[in-house]
Every structure is written in structure tokens, then in C-alpha cells.
Subunit: 410 residues, 2 copies
């Protein structure tokens, strides 16, 4: 069975594509469906029609997102309506809902243009949009399902989820189980070399995804072979030891959060080069206030001295990017942050600021936990953002390692 | 002229699509080219072949990214080679470069599998990859240009840039100027209503992009009409006043940075609900150490008291999410952060933590600058990430406003 996604948007608006495709892909995987192909076209009626008709000819499930806004350049519904030769009809009930939504935001003079959002393709079923004004639509034709959804991810998500059972029933999808095994601190080619035998054996079902500091092995198996997952997991565990993170684990910041919660530990973070990124990633997780005390973004040396009390002599003798500073940062973040464990980051994120001894990408990461107080040095490749991201993920990796090695709070 | 981008990756790996498309689109715009269509297909040879042949038939410039890794599931080159009926040939020089790169990373036993990266399509020109091991390729055929580039954005970017002149020469592109006018603090439909006349008049050349707290009007005009930009800008300026941000401005955090630098102001930030995001966005900008002192991510109430010295009585009487707390946070962030200006964020990012009086999305933003010390209350819609993002961008908006209204450092 083929699944196609068509993203409608201008050729400049790709910001949502990533989020939306990840969302759609994840939701479809729960019923064993994978996206075969995805196309992004601009708000160009002819281009949308042609892309849609090609997808409609070849695929069974077609998910169209975006281009449902009120403005003149939103043409998705017009294009699909023409392609299918089914009229657009005005729905009073949708218009009333839109009026209600504007009222809630204290807007009583609704731009006339918003009326465009109250039209749907004749024969389709309205999908309610709880987070926005543009409703979605679901259409069945020639044994196929066509879904038309708005572009904003928070609107799209619940709407797609509400259709998932219908899609499952319709296509009687072969139930498939997907497991993701995560490995940390090992390059992609080493993972593949070490697992050559099992990858060869399950070639059709394996996908390797390389993230910064993390490799994911995605294994998809039919339900009747599910025992194989345990077999394969024990092999991976065996070959990668502490570098094996687990199966179907949440992203590293969430994993760290779980670990901290489980061990009843409070975390504090001191950041220089990472500039708040580590705190941001930790607090992305709802409920992080349970284990996150706070962070010291001591970007300037003055604040390193005044707030984190790094001795002037240390900064002068060894510099802000040094083992000693990283250690002090971690130690005092724990102390002043009233925490049990801490991590610190100080380095050269670039593109400027490098010296002969301290190249762009050099980062010292400090750890303070129980009797452990140390800093480790890394040189990360990439641009400013990549270096910062890799440093922070490496810091999380070190946090995980030290917690696992040292059991619970003393 | 048609431009197509084909992203090759597994159906799970959409993380780079967004970044890559933005990059490619931006680079192509400099020579007046727009992406007509973009397709994402998995590492499936037949699917890649079919997609490529369709693009090759219809389009003039085809940019293919991804699937050039060393592992078995990277099939891009094989697919294009078969589609064009041109062999893959091993290039000793590429292999030597790969060996050198591994040596630099202190790896001397190079996995045999990496040899796959040393093959290119017969007749193509090698594009050097300074940031990774997979080289790119450029091919001319039937008056068309085919570019094959690696997936990682930091590898792709310089490689595409190095081809841009060649593409320009080849297609003698009609030189086109693009200007982006940014408007802040006004909803999309209001922007369109207020500018109805000029949008109607330039319908073909206008694109409206709605970001959180920011609307971009993208106007594309042939060079001989470039005076029209000034005309249109003065209309927009006139109708939106202080809400008009400017033309071709950098992202808001960078704009704030420029403003701070220009006015010789030092910034400090106090964050609760935004958890480091504001600091992260400010320090995303290279050189931000010139104006950013640091941030206090006082996620817990203990740190609000201990680090930012918010009086216990204030927290007890009004709560952490209150006008009073936001004001104290801003005031003390400025004081202890040794800064001239500060912004603070405290609110309910959700999904939990709401009360009857303080719903999810309620955020107090505090500002302290010269004699100005105040906090404003907002209720942002959306999920946790959206609320945090909107709050931070609104804070930046308030920073900009207060600086513009108050001239330079006293």
C-alpha cells in the first residue's frame, strides 16, 4: 500500500515541513503505515492539481496539508475540488464555529476573507479543528482516502489522530511493530560494522538513523515475528554495553529527566558557550520542574565571577575555556543551584574566538555528582549550532553515565 | 524555468528537510530562482529513479540531496546512475581524501564500507566536501543541470554555494530582486486587510508568511521595477508604524543584538517558564558576547529566592507567575547581571500547572531599562513549545520597543 503526503506552501515556507512529516510519519507508523513519498509544492493551483492527480492515481492514502488559510494565496481546496471535479460548498456550521473562535479572542469584526475557510469539497466529511480556524476534510473515492489538513502542526496532529482508526479499518492494515534501538557515543559506520550479520539478515526491515551523538536502529517486523525483537536486542546490548541506550527510548533530555526523577536527584546547569541550550532542552520536557532547579547562563566572565564565584585567579591563569573553569562551574552550579548533580559547558562555539590552543569546537564539559568532580575535553566538528548541540548532548550522555555508575542519591 | 529538489532519506528521517530546503531556497533566490517542487522519497532505488526521471523530464535544474552515506541503505548514486544510464566509477583521489579525513579524526582503520563514497557517476564533476566524507557531483545533460549533494546541511551549504555562479551562467537567469518586509504584533488577516490594495496590484509577486509573532511579506520584482520597493515600503511603514520592523531584516534575536550593539547596551535575561530558550536564541548569534551578559534560569522557586533575590513574601503573596515576580526578576536580572537592560519571563507553559486564575499560556514578561520597570501579561495559544516560543519572541518585541522609544544609554 502506498501513502503519499503533499505539503502545500510557498516555496519559502519550509519551516513546518519537518515537524509535520515527523508527526504524520509517527502517527501512521502506529498502524504499520509508512510514507512512500512526500511532495512539497507552492500555492500554485495547477502544480497542486497535477501533483495530487499523480498521487491519486498511484497511492491509496493521500494526506494533503497546508494552504487552507483565509488569504488569497491559499488554493488547496480549489485545486483538489477541480482535480476531483467536485464542487466547493459553503457550510454555515463551519462559519458559525469560526465566528465563535474569533469572539473568544475578543475579535468581533471578522475579516470577510475568513469566509473562504467555511467551504468544503462536496461529499467530504468535516474534521473539527480545535486549535485553529481552518477545518479539515476527509474524502473517500475509488477505494482511496484523501485527507485535507491544515498546515500548523498543533492543528494537524489531533485531526490526523482522529482519523487513524478509520484509516486502519479501511485498509485493514497488516499490523506491524516498530522498535527503535538507540546507541550513543559510537559512529554510524562502527554500528553498522559491528552489527553486519543481523543487519544483513534483516535488511528489508532495518533503517539506520544517525543523529548528533546518537544512532537509532529502526526495526520493523510483522507481529508474528515479534520474539525476534528480544533476540536482536540482547545481541545489541551485548555488543555495545553501556553505549546501548535502550529500546523505544524518549529523546535524551527526556531520558535524563526520567533518570533524575527515578533517582530523586535535582539538577543544575552552568552554561557558557552553550548559552542556555542545555536548560532549554531540559525544560522542553513537561514536568521538568520536578528535577530541574535552574541554570546559570554565565556568558560573560563577569557573571562567571559574580554569580558562579569562579575565582578571578582561575579565569586569569587558565582562561574561561579550561578544565579548571569547567570544574568550578559544575561545582558551584551544584552548590548555588541547591542541586544533587550538575553539568557545565564552556568552550569555543565559533565562528570567532578561537586561539592556537583552543580551536573552534573545543568544549570542556564539567560534571559534579557525589564525590565525582571532573571535566572532560572534546573537539566537536560543525558550525556554531552543531557544536553547541553536540556539546550539550555529550553533556547529557556524561550525566547519564555518571548516574548509572553511581546508583542513587547517597 | 523549473527547479526541483529531491530529498533522499528514509521515511523516518525528516529532520534535515526543513533546514535543507530553507538553505537551498535562500541560496537559489540570490540568482532569482525559486523551487518549483520538492519531493522526499525513501532510500528506495526504484522510487528514486522514477522521481528523478520525472524531474529530469520536466525541470531544468534538479538538486538531489542525501543518500550518499557509506551504508547499504544509501542508494542515491546507484539510482541516478541507472536512470541516466551512466556508470559509477571509482575515483582514487576521493578515496585518498576520505583516508585523510579519517586520519584527522584519529581513525586509522577505515571501514571497508566507506569505499562506496569514492564512486561518482561517469562524466560528472566532483564537488569537494570540506565538512564531511561524501563528495558531491555536478552533471550537465540535455541542457539541464543535475546536482547531487550530501544531506547534512553544513556539508550541503558550501557545496551548493560553490555551484551558484555556474548555474547562473548556464541558465542566464533573469535577475530578480526579492525583499522581505516584516511586521510584528499584528495578525495575518489584519495585515492582508490593511494592504489589500497593494497586494491586489502585485498579486503575482507577493507571498505572505506567518511566523509566531511575525508576518513576512515577500515581494519579488524584476530589476527594472526596483523603485517600486521604496514606494511599497513607505506605504507599509505608514500603515503599520512601530509594528513595521524593516526590510530584509535578520531574525528578531539578531535584530535585537544589532540594536543592543548599536546602542552599546548590555542585556541580562531572567527566565522561568521559558527555561533557557531566550538565552539560547540570543546566543545563537555569533558575537553575542558583545552585548549579552548572561541569564538566570530560575526554574525553581528556591533559585528565584536565592539567586534572583525575589522576596519570599512576594512569591508567597502573588505567586511565581505574577506581575510582581516578573518585575523583580527583570529588576534583579539587570542588577546582578551587571546589565543595562533586562527582560524576564514567568508563566504557565503547560500542559500542567494551570489554576483557575492562571491558565496554560499565561505569561508575565518583565522589562527593566533606565527608569522603566514594568511587566505585561499575555495569554499565548498553543502547546508548550509554541507558548514558550511566542512568549520569548514577544519579550524580544518589547525589548525592541523600549529601546527605540528611549534612545541610547543614559
Amino acid at each position: 500500500m502506498r501513502v503519499e503526503v503533499i505539503n502545500i506552501g510557498t516555496e519559502l515556507l519550509f519551516n513546518r515541513v519537518n515537524t509535520n512529516l515527523n508527526l504524520i510519519s509517527k502517527i501512521l507508523l502506529t498502524i504499520g503505515l509508512k510514507i512512500t513519498k512526500c511532495t512539497i509544492v507552492g500555492d500554485d493551483k495547477e502544480e497542486i492539481k497535477e501533483t495530487f492527480l499523480k498521487a491519486f492515481e498511484k497511492s491509496d492514502l493521500i494526506i494533503i496539508t497546508g494552504g487552507l488559510g483565509p488569504t488569497f494565496d491559499d488554493l488547496t481546496k480549489e485545486a483538489i475540488s477541480e482535480a476531483l471535479n467536485q464542487n466547493l460548498i459553503f457550510k454555515e456550521e463551519i462559519w458559525n464555529t469560526i465566528i465563535e473562535k474569533f469572539k473568544k479572542r475578543n475579535i468581533f469584526e471578522i475579516p470577510e476573507i475568513n469566509k473562504r475557510q467555511a467551504y468544503i469539497i462536496d461529499g467530504s466529511i468535516i474534521l473539527e479543528n480545535k486549535n485553529g480556524t481552518a477545518p479539515g476534510q476527509i474524502l473517500e473515492k475509488n477505494g482511496k482516502i484523501i485527507l485535507i489538513l491544515p498546515g500548523p502542526p498543533n492543528e494537524l496532529k489531533p485531526m490526523l489522530e482522529s482519523c487513524i482508526n478509520l484509516i486502519k479499518e479501511k485498509f485493514k492494515t497488516h499490523y506491524i511493530i516498530t522498535k527503535i534501538f538507540s546507541i550513543i557515543g559510537v559512529p554510524e559506520s562502527e554500528v553498522e560494522t559491528k552489527l553486519k550479520d543481523i543487519i544483513e539478515e534483516n535488511k528489508e526491515n532495518f533503517i539506520i538513523l544517525a543523529h548528533p551523538n546518537l544512532i537509532e536502529l529502526v526495526l520493523t517486523l510483522p507481529e508474528n515475528l515479534k520474539d525476534k525483537f528480544y533476540e536482536i536486542e540482547s545481541i545489541i546490548k551485548n555488543r555495545f554495553g553501556i553505549n546501548y541506550l535502550g529500546v523505544d527510548i524518549p529523546p535524551l533530555p527526556e531520558l535524563i529527566g526520567k533518570l533524575l526523577k527515578e533517582k530523586k536527584l535535582k539538577l543544575a546547569i552552568a552554561e557558557s558557550c552553550s548559552g542556555g541550550l542545555a536548560c532549554k532542552l531540559i525544560t522542553d520536557i513537561p514536568g521538568s520542574s520536578e528535577y530541574f532547579m535552574g541554570g546559570f547562563v554565565t556568558y560573560s566572565n563577569i557573571l562567571k565571577k559574580k554569580i558562579l564565584k569562579i575565582p578571578k585567579t582561575v579565569l586569569k591563569k587558565f582562561g574561561a575555556v579550561s578544565e579548571q573553569t569547567a570544574i568550578y562551574m559544575a561545582k558551584n552550579a551544584k552548590k548555588y543551584g541547591k542541586a544533587d548533580i550538575s553539568v557545565s559547558f564552556t568552550g569555543i562555539a565559533g565562528p570567532t574566538g578561537a586561539t592556537l590552543e583552543k580551536p573552534v569546537g573545543m568544549v570542556w564539559i564539567g560534571i559534579c555528582y557525589k564525590k565525582n568532580l571532573y571535566a572532560r575535553n572534546f573537539i566537536f566538528q560543525g558550525d556554531r549550532q552543531t557544536i553547541r548541540e553536540r556539546a550539550v548532548y555529550k553533556g547529557f550522555e556524561l550525566l547519564r553515565e555518571i548516574i548509572l555508575k553511581n546508583g542513587k542519591k547517597s
